[in-house]
Symmetry: C2
Subunit: 189 residues, 2 copies
């Protein structure tokens, strides 16, 4: 497997040229996960800044009541990251689990930070990643407030149809903020 997808992703912001992309990608190390394996376990400090070539993952937390709540799904061609733990070096609240076999390229925090401070383009890239994640989360929050469960499901179907192939109804339901019972009814209806 080559780093071609990673190169393209780095350049996709428009601010990183081919030569810089190659230099930035250089320290990334190959990483694979088997289906079901955890990339991050709650209580650990995240040390993976991962570009995902292939596969799907989900992040989840345990609610006070002890139930798994899926918080994020990660698709191929994107970064997999838990910023709160990775950047602050604090133990993670979240777990990140491979829904399928996965393969990608990974930086440690130290490697990330060296690039971050050494390369202005990568700085902007990293900042942009956080900003977009923030904006997406805000949009999701807005949907939680303004849409019904059925509308949220329809919206997700429309924007991420491929996701449905890899995620169980139960995971989807907790992501949408409803019970699997309700989601079953919504899908039926």
């Amino acid at each position: 497997m080559s780093k071609q997808q990673l190169h393209q992703f780095l350049q996709s912001t428009g601010r990183i040229g081919a030569a810089d992309a190659a230099a930035i990608a250089e320290p990334f190390v190959a990483k694979t996960l088997a289906r079901g394996e955890l990339l991050l376990r709650q209580g650990q400090v995240s040390n993976d800044y991962l570009f995902l070539d292939a596969g799907w993952l989900r992040a989840f937390v345990l609610s006070p009541a002890g139930q798994e709540v899926s918080t994020t799904f990660y698709q191929p061609g994107r970064m997999v990251l838990e910023p709160a733990s990775f950047f602050t070096r604090a133990p993670a609240q979240e777990n990140i689990q491979a829904l399928t076999d996965c393969a990608g390229w990974c930086l440690t925090f130290q490697q990330f930070n060296e690039l971050f401070h050494a390369r202005p383009e990568f700085r902007e890239f990293g900042r942009g990643l956080l900003v977009h994640g923030f904006a997406n989360l805000k949009a999701r929050m807005l949907e939680m407030v303004t849409l019904t469960a059925a509308e949220r499901y329809a919206q997700l179907l429309r924007t991420s149809p491929a996701l449905m192939q890899h995620v169980s109804v139960r995971h989807l339901a907790s992501y949408l903020g409803i019970t699997d019972t309700s989601l079953s009814r919504i899908r039926k209806g």
Copy 2:
């Protein structure tokens, strides 16, 4: 009004010394807002990286149905920022409005970016700000999914009692993801 609070806030991360804090604070310019005034209007590009000395603000968006939904409340001693527009230079979806008369210190995007690239400590500071905002939003999303409306209200009362003095029931309700009718009932309790 002095920049003392800003100095302290910059140093509160532990990675910025007094001398660096003074140097970083230097380009910040005084900014005031009258109650009701908009710091940011949707459709505009945000150009304010604001530290709030005194006063309260809220951010809100218009839902597809045309209703105001409050998304964030800003308290004194913190930053006021709409990252999605400020960093990407894209028109904002959100409005930011002063709930009371406000005073603080402000950077433009250009000033911010110069500091960001020139000063490693400020880079880490800015990154930390985004990361914490992200983590807070995720925690709020988790509350939306796992708690009832009454529990979310109780939680907010516990964590931000001062907020209640400055925010109308209607704003609070949309922030909590319920109608003002329901919040009224919850408060009655």
